[in-house]
């Protein structure tokens, strides 16, 4: 199990029962937990509605930024980025307007 803090904002929290922060123990399948696995786990265990607004195929849907410890996942390996105990995984839907 890996203890991960999952954060949802910019509207993504609405898909997760309006929770902005969830501490979760995510099981590993063998080796290191990856962002892809943590994301799939969140979809299967925490998502309450409209999975198509969270994921597209095996990745996140366009318009949602994924951050590992406040850093764009593109800088850490995207889907294959490692997630370890105490890491924060953030999903932010980009906003438009005002």
């Amino acid at each position: 199990m890996v203890r991960v803090v999952l954060e949802f904002s910019g509207g993504v929290e609405l898909l997760f029962g309006n929770q902005k922060t969830v501490e979760a123990d995510i099981p590993q399948n063998g080796g290191q937990l990856t962002v892809a696995e943590a994301m799939a786990w969140a979809r299967d265990n925490l998502l309450t509605e409209r999975p198509e607004l969270f994921m597209k195929g095996s990745s996140v849907r366009p318009g949602v930024l994924v951050l590992v410890n406040d850093t764009d996942w593109e800088l850490c390996g995207e889907l294959e980025a490692a997630v370890t105990d105490g890491d924060r995984l953030t999903f932010i839907s980009t906003l438009h307007g005002g």
């Binding site: 951050l67 764009d72 980009t94 307007g97």
Partner: protein, 502 residues
């Protein structure tokens, strides 16, 4: 190749600028060079041997007038800002795209701070529901004593915003662009300013702006078609100060800045699907969030870009959670080498922005804070008008009226006896509240309801969601479900003018 041509143009530009620098250096050094440094330091000390009267105030070399120095003195005396930064601000220009919740406070701050030229782009007129956050619109009603509560309602937003900026600071130049930002005019408009501030309300505009920003240090504030703005910014080399606020959340960043700042397409090569972007008109927005939180930061970033002071919010996203009282910034990727808009070989250029189909790319038309178009999703015989509903509610005492709007809207106003169906957010089948739940309030749908298939009418805000609900109810076997065309807004227009709209 266009790349070589561009390189050539940049070299020419560089040579011109260097010549200008040399000319200015010579001017500063003054005749004979001696004593020039002392003169520059004191501003008024005459070189040794100068005879005659003590020279008058010459404005130094920053170009600020006595009035300007007095007006901007508090930021001029700021150690980290100073007179040269203020002078750059006074020579700078900003295009504010959208005079709404973000653009209007940003425009006021930038006018007050002394940005020399401000362009305001919008195409809408002020509505009553805008004013709680779009605080720039405050023109007195005319005729005096008329519709006092309405104030600036109906005035063009760009005109109203420009008037307020001029009233605040008559020493600056304020320009209006009343047609809004379109693919046809985006590059042309963005090119005229140093920085673009994006305060637009929808995704297609966002991409357009970005194309225009890449080639010069200018700031543009945009409020309408975000992607178009971005593309426009990328194409002509202007940094784009992007801000958004919905509900109690805000997000801010600077795109297309410096050598590695990404554009929106670097982050999202594929546009968010239509329907994934919440808008204030649907999702709501707490009035102080866009202005108090997001627009202030946008104005600040524009000031930083123009003055050259501080580290711009490039490659970072500032996330503001006003409900939790939390600001934090996260690190973003550098620009993509393969980006279609801002890489060294872009396929979207200044010349192609005008022809780009942004509505197709983002799957949505560019609409502002406006209502969605009425749809016809189900057969006409499955729908009745509000006037018909009124007759049937009177003549069918056992009928059920199902209101499928979100709870927040249902709590604002609903017809007597209407049952709330917790359909929001569109989670599939409507789920009925337990009896005695939110749908209470007595009325016709009480405990004495006949057991078998009482007439069932479905309403929503405007008549689109209610059609989806009727379709779903019919799938579930409730073939007697009937939609009300135009929803509660049509009810207010056609049946009961006293019924609130929002």
């Amino acid at each position: 190749m266009s790349g070589e041509k561009e390189l050539g143009q940049l070299r020419e530009q560089n040579a011109r600028l260097q010549a200008e620098v040399e000319r200015l250096k010579a001017a500063v050094a003054g005749p004979g060079q001696q004593g020039a440094q002392a003169a520059a330091a004191n501003g008024a000390a005459a070189p040794d041997g100068a005879a005659g009267s003590f020279p008058a105030w010459d404005g130094l070399r920053h170009g600020l007038s006595k009035d300007q120095i007095a007006r901007y003195s508090r930021q001029i005396v700021l150690h980290s800002f100073g007179v040269q930064a203020q002078a750059r601000l006074c020579r700078g220009s900003v295009l504010i795209v959208g005079a709404g919740g973000l653009g209007s406070p940003a425009a006021l701050y930038l006018a007050a701070a002394g940005v020399g030229r401000i362009g305001v782009v919008d195409k809408d007129s002020v509505e009553l529901s805008n004013i709680h956050r779009q605080i720039i619109h405050r023109r007195a009603p005319h005729p005096p004593g008329g519709l006092l509560a309405l104030g600036p309602v109906g005035v063009h937003k760009a005109v109203s915003a420009a008037e307020a900026c001029r009233a605040l600071n008559s020493s600056i130049q304020v320009e209006t662009h009343l047609e809004g930002l379109t693919p046809a005019n985006a590059v042309h408009l963005v090119r005229q300013y140093d920085v673009v501030v994006d305060a637009s309300d929808n995704a297609p505009t966002r991409y357009l702006i970005r194309r225009a920003t890449l080639h010069r240090v200018h700031a543009v504030v945009l409020c309408w078609l975000h992607c178009m703005r971005l593309d426009a910014c990328c194409a002509v080399g202007r940094p784009l100060v992007s801000g958004a606020a919905i509900g109690t959340d805000g997000q801010l960043t600077v795109y297309c800045h410096g050598h590695d700042g990404p554009c929106y397409r670097c982050l999202f090569p594929e546009a968010p699907a239509a329907g994934n972007c919440a808008r204030c008109v649907d999702a709501g927005v707490l009035g102080v969030v866009p202005g108090g939180r997001a627009a202030g930061v946008q104005a600040l970033e524009a000031v930083k870009l123009l003055s050259g002071v501080g580290d711009p919010l490039s490659r970072r996203l500032l996330v503001v959670d006003c409900a939790a009282g939390r600001f934090h910034s996260v690190k973003l990727r550098a620009k993509s080498a393969n980006c279609v808009a801002c890489s060294t070989h872009p396929s979207i250029t200044a010349a192609s922005v005008a022809a780009y189909d942004y509505a197709a790319f983002t799957g949505q038309a560019a609409t502002n804070d406006a209502a969605p178009a009425p749809l016809q999703l189900i057969a006409a015989e499955e729908r009745i008008t509000p006037a018909e509903l009124q007759q049937r509610l009177a003549s069918e005492p056992g009928c059920v009226l199902l209101d499928v709007r979100p709870a927040e809207q249902y709590n604002v106003c609903h017809l007597p006896g209407a049952q709330a169906a917790l359909l929001w957010p569109h989670s599939g089948a409507p789920s009925m509240p337990p009896s005695g739940g939110q749908g209470g309030g007595g009325g016709t749908a009480g405990a004495s309801r006949p057991p078998a298939h009482p007439p069932l009418y479905v309403v929503c805000r405007r008549g689109n969601d209610s059609q989806r609900a009727v379709a779903r109810l019919r799938e579930l076997g409730m073939a007697h479900a009937v939609d009300v065309v135009g929803g509660m807004e049509a009810w207010a227009h056609e049946v009961d003018p006293g019924f609130p709209t929002y």
